[in-house]
Structures are given as structure tokens and as C-alpha cells.
Amino acid sequence: MSHRRRSSIAAKRQARAPVFAALGDETRLSLIAKLCNRQPYSISQLTQDSKLTRQAITKHLRVLESVGIVHSVRTGRESRFEFDPEPITGIREYLDFVSEQWDRALFRLKSFVED
């Protein structure tokens, strides 16, 4: 792996703050629930049936954006936000992988101690 590639990965890693932390908030989870249908939403639309102010919603969207779960797209004068499941499925895939490794290791342990 070249030095350049290494540093670009490091930069990407740094830019992507922990996805779990970003999801550990009810408001942000409710925003995700709304954005899940893959339609881009404007901040006004997302603020509509929320008790929170436009500023608060914007702040939460920025947190989601910082970990890559949400992207903003500019249409004319306003920004619209859309959902990107990639970082979430990435982590789930990894968890599944580690989980499977444990299943196998514990199975070997079982054979080992029950022998």
C-alpha cells in the first residue's frame, strides 16, 4: 500500500467519527427513520412535525453528515438531505464477521473441554 493511499485512508477514518455515537440519540434516530425511504428531504420538511427548531435539526443533520450516514444535496436555493446506509451496513457486516469467528472458536472450545 502506497504512502498516499495510507494517508487518504487515515484521513477518511478521522473524518468518519464513530457511527454508533452518531446514532445514539433519539432525535437523530427519528431523522434517520424519516430519511430511510431514500427521498431527499429539506430542513423545513424535517422540521415540520418536530418540536425542535430548525437550528437544532440542522445541528443533528450535520452530526449524521459527519459520519457519512446523511448527505446534503443542493437543489436551487435549498439543501436537501438524503440517507446513505453504507457506513451502517459496513459496521454490521464487520460485527457479523467477528460474531461468526466467535461461534467457530467457541465450538472448538466446546470440543476441547468436552473431550
Binding site: 485512508i9 477518511k12 477514518r13 468518519r16 464513530p18 457511527v19 454508533f20 455515537a21 446514532l23 445514539g24 459520519v67 457519512g68 457506513p87 451502517i88 459496513g90 459496521i91 457486516e93 464487520y94 460485527l95 464477521f97 467477528v98 460474531s99 461468526e100 469467528q101 466467535w102 461461534d103 467457530r104 472458536a105 467457541l106 465450538f107 472448538r108 472450545l109 466446546k110 470440543s111 476441547f112 473441554v113 468436552e114 473431550d115
Partner: protein, 159 residues
């Protein structure tokens, strides 16, 4: 979202037997498939090498946390982006770690072993399967071979 893995497995062996398989570094190495340099000592780094054919270059490095006799064995270990190559030794320092805990409970038929691995919330979002897949899918393939081998030899013992 779930940031931990939890497994419960009933073992038909006394707690003392299971404890030995976990806490004795040679026995641990047998089933985990790792050759460890020395005994586990709480607060100290445990080092060794994976003993899987083709994966001998992969370093094992963990920090032993607790060894609560016949009750709890725990360590933290790194989740590096890749496991490196034989010619490029890998430095795990600075890599995010997770906490692995083995809890033992005595049951009527033997031991209930509860394994948890937690702290996945600290891992970067890009910590994924590429590193393993790059190895020609060899790791996964090896795992399957072993599983087939073990389950074949294990059928007779399974109730």
C-alpha cells in the same frame, strides 16, 4: 444500534475444566489456534502468533484485564484494518480495541459460558471485511475447513 456481541454456550464440563482451557495460555492456544509466548498476567500484554496454516505471520496481541478465578477472564485486543503481511510486521499500537469477557457459571450439567465482546462503537466506520477478503478469501476458507473437520469429529459426542 448494537455495539456488542454476546454468546452463551452450555458446556458439559466442570467450571474448573473450562477455566483451565481459558486461563492456561497453552490450553487457550490449543482451541483458539494461537501460539502464545507466555502465561496470561492481568495488566500485562500477551503476545503470540496465530497458528493457522498460511496465517502464521498474524500477530496476537492482547492486554489481559481480569482473571477472577473460575468466574471471569477478560482482555482487550485490537481490531486493525488489516493483519499485515509476513514481510511487513504490523504495529497494533494506536489501533482501536474491544473488550472480550468470558464469564463462567456453574450449572447442573456443567458450565454456562457467556462471552461478550464490547466497544465496537469505538471502531471507525470503515473497519470492514476488505482486509480479510484481500487475502484471497483464505481466512474464511480456512475457517470453513476447520469447522467441517471439527463437526465431523464431533457428531458422535453431540447429544
Amino acid at each position: 444500534m448494537n455495539d456488542r456481541i454476546e454468546k452463551r454456550i452450555a458446556l458439559k464440563a466442570p467450571v474448573s475444566r473450562v477455566w483451565r482451557a481459558l486461563s492456561d495460555y497453552r490450553e487457550f492456544g490449543e482451541w483458539f489456534r494461537v501460539k502464545l509466548d507466555g502465561p496470561f498476567v492481568p495488566g500485562q500484554v500477551s503476545r503470540g502468533r496465530i497458528t493457522y496454516p498460511g496465517y502464521e505471520h498474524v500477530k496476537w496481541e492482547a492486554v489481559v484485564q481480569k482473571m477472577d478465578h473460575e468466574r471471569l477472564f477478560s482482555f482487550t485486543w485490537p481490531h486493525p484494518k488489516s493483519f499485515g503481511r509476513a514481510d511487513i510486521p504490523l504495529d497494533y499500537s494506536g489501533e482501536p480495541t474491544t473488550l472480550v469477557e468470558f464469564r463462567l457459571e456453574k450449572t447442573a450439567s456443567g458450565t454456562l459460558l457467556v462471552l461478550t465482546e464490547s466497544g465496537f462503537d469505538k471502531l471507525p466506520a470503515d473497519r470492514r471485511l476488505e482486509a480479510f477478503r484481500r487475502n484471497d478469501g483464505g481466512w474464511t476458507e480456512q475457517m470453513k475447513n476447520v469447522e467441517n473437520h471439527v463437526s465431523k469429529n464431533h457428531v458422535a459426542q453431540t447429544p
